[in-house]
Amino acid sequence: METKTRIILICSGKGGVGKTTLTANLGISLARQGVRTAVLDADFGLRNLDLLLGLENRIVYTAQEVLEESCRLDQALVKHKQEPNLSLLPAGNPRMLDWLKPDDMQRIVSMLTDKFDYVLIDCPAGVEDGFKNAVSASKEAIVVTNPEVSAVRDADRVIGLLNTHGIKPIQLVLNRVRPRMMASQEMLSIEDVTDILALPLLGIVLEDEQVIVSTNRGEPLTLTGSKSPAARCYSNIAKRMQGEEIPLIDPSKEGSGIRDKFRRLMQTKIF
């Protein structure tokens, strides 16, 4: 039977572009909207999702014990205290990588399906086994990239692989956007990236120091109701996932001073 649960892979190819931060913030944001959300840490080699959510001290069992049937799923799920609609299924020991197969990922995800409205899978970087296992259990994908050549190139590779796995829809999140650099054309524009990758844009996330501060605390920006630039972006994305029509933040329109106007003039495409 077709399930309504949305099983979304959050992937990028290149490492360090912001997958885990996005997963944590979307997880919290969706939960705050009242939908039952599970975040699954599929980065078994270098798990971090627990840390970003501030749940690292509450882990008893992991996906590993669930798969080995030495505990039940609900024993391994860590419910977020402030946002009980959100649960984390932690990654097990890195040695799981030695035996984990696509079948195992599919088994875990099918256990989560129907208990939740959303299953967000935090994918490891790369396109090797970890990625393949995670893809095999996913239906949709969000590709995260930065406005940089290497991140865009790797995203392109991943999109090709997602297509061959029949993942649909695939949407794009452009992270670490710096309006100033884009305005002076020292950074690929949003249009450049969406044109090159030919994916619908789910949203952009502005470069924001508060991301690091929130990571230090283990409290995602969307948890604290912060009004910082990245916080606004994350919650806009979560609302769009829920079908709300929220206009994109246009970095080139940020600022209304004479210098910003001049920058925009210089940016106008002549041909």
């Binding site: 940089e148 050549v149 865009v152 190139r153 392109d156 590779r157 999109i159 090709g160 884009m182 002076s184 054309q185 020292e186 950074m187 690929l188 524009s189 450049d192 044109d195 090159i196 990758l197 030919a198 003039l265 210089m266 940016q267 106008t268 495409k269 002549i270 041909f271």
Partner: protein
């Protein structure tokens, strides 16, 4: 091209790094997406030129065969300038029969 790019060009300055990034990405992705190795592409280029040269007189130095990509569609684009005679007519050759060796 943007106003900034034009001014940069007039002043002999480098174009903006975003333009360079865009161009480099388009090129590298055309190759990534096609899975063709540079050697294979080069061989294909030679063979295409040979075939075309059987029919029309082309400038073998100028001919270019490249991969271009847009909207996740990759196209093989051949740009083969045809030599013209002094009268301006295209020089068409009689097709030569392939010798079986």
């Amino acid at each position: 091209m943007t106003l900034r790019d034009i001014i940069n060009k007039l002043l002999g300055r480098q174009e903006s790094s975003a333009s360079t990034a865009r161009e480099r990405l388009q090129l590298v992705l055309a190759h990534d997406r096609s899975d063709l190795s540079p050697e294979l592409l080069d061989q294909m280029r030679k063979e295409i030129l040979e075939v075309v040269a059987k029919y029309v007189e082309i400038d073998l130095e100028e001919g270019a065969v490249s991969l271009e990509t847009e909207d996740r569609m990759t196209a093989l684009v051949a740009n083969l300038p045809i030599k013209r005679s002094l009268s301006g007519a295209i020089q068409v050759k009689e097709p030569v029969k392939e010798s079986s060796d």
